[in-house]
Subunit: 166 residues, 2 copies
Amino acid sequence: MRSASATTRADEMGMDVAFANAKKSYDEGGLPIGAALVYHGGEEPRVVGQGHNQRIQKASPILHGETAALENAGRLKPEVYRNSTMYTTLRHVSCPCSMCTGAILLYKIPRIVIGENVNFSGEETLLRSRGVEVVVLEDERCKELMGRYVREKPEEWYEDIGETVS
Amino acid sequence: MRSASATTRADEMGMDVAFANAKKSYDEGGLPIGAALVYHGGEEPRVVGQGHNQRIQKASPILHGETAALENAGRLKPEVYRNSTMYTTLRHVSCPCSMCTGAILLYKIPRIVIGENVNFSGEETLLRSRGVEVVVLEDERCKELMGRYVREKPEEWYEDIGETVS
C-alpha cells in the first residue's frame, strides 16, 4: 500500500497540517480526525482547505475531517479539485467513510493520502474503481492519537460511523 | 421507477417539506434543491431534519439538500437513521450525487424518495446495490423549479456537481 510518492515533501506538509487539525480536535474533546486539501497545480503546493471532525464541537453529522476541509476551502473551481490531494489522518476499518469517499468522487479529487489505517478497507475499492490514487502511510502519530480516542470514547466514534458499540 | 409507496400521506408530507426548502433557497438566489429526513419509526411520521443547498448562501461545497437536512437534524442515534426516509427534490442526470449517496449509505438510511428526475442515473446503481430503496416521483413543482434555475444560472449548477458548463 505504501507508495514512493508518499514520502515527498508535499505529502509530509499535507499530513502535518491534517495531523495538527486532528490534535486540535482532540484537545477540544472532539474526534481526532483531521484533513487538508492541498493544491499541487501551481509552482508550490498550497493548502486550500483544512479542518477536523465536528461531531462533538458542532453536533454535526456531516463535518468529518475531509468534508470539513472541503467546507473550509469554500467554493473552488473544478480544476482546483482536479489538481489537489486530500490528506486525512483517519484510521478504522470503515474509513474513509462512504460520505467522504463520495465527496472526493463528486469533486474528482484524484488522490487521497491517509495517515494510517491498520485494517484499511472501507470504501477503498470504490475509490480505486473510479480511478482515485490511494496512498496509506504508517504515521505513528495518527495511529496513536486515534487509537487513544477510540479507547477513551468508543460511543462517540461508533456514532460517527452510524454504528453502535458492539 | 414509480412505486405504490410513493403516494402515501407520509411521502406527500415529506416531499412538501423538501419542496418548501427548495423554494426558500430559490427565493434567496440559491440552488433550489431541498430535502427532508422523516422518521417513520414512531406512531406518526416526523420530520427530524430539513434543509437546502447552501452553495450560494454560505459558499458551501458540502451543504447539498440531503447533507443540509442531515446537518439540521444534528446528532441522531443509529436507529433513527435506520427508520427514516430521505426526501429530496433534485433533478439531474448526476443526482443524487456521490457525496449525498455516501451520506445515505454511511447512516444506513434505507429509503430515498426523489421529487423527479428526468434522466435519473447518478448513483442510483450504487444505492440499489447496497440495498437502499429508491423511489422517483414525477413531481411537476420540482421539475419546473429546478429546470428554471438551470436555465437561469447554469454556472452555479455545474459548479455544484464539480463540473464546468459544456
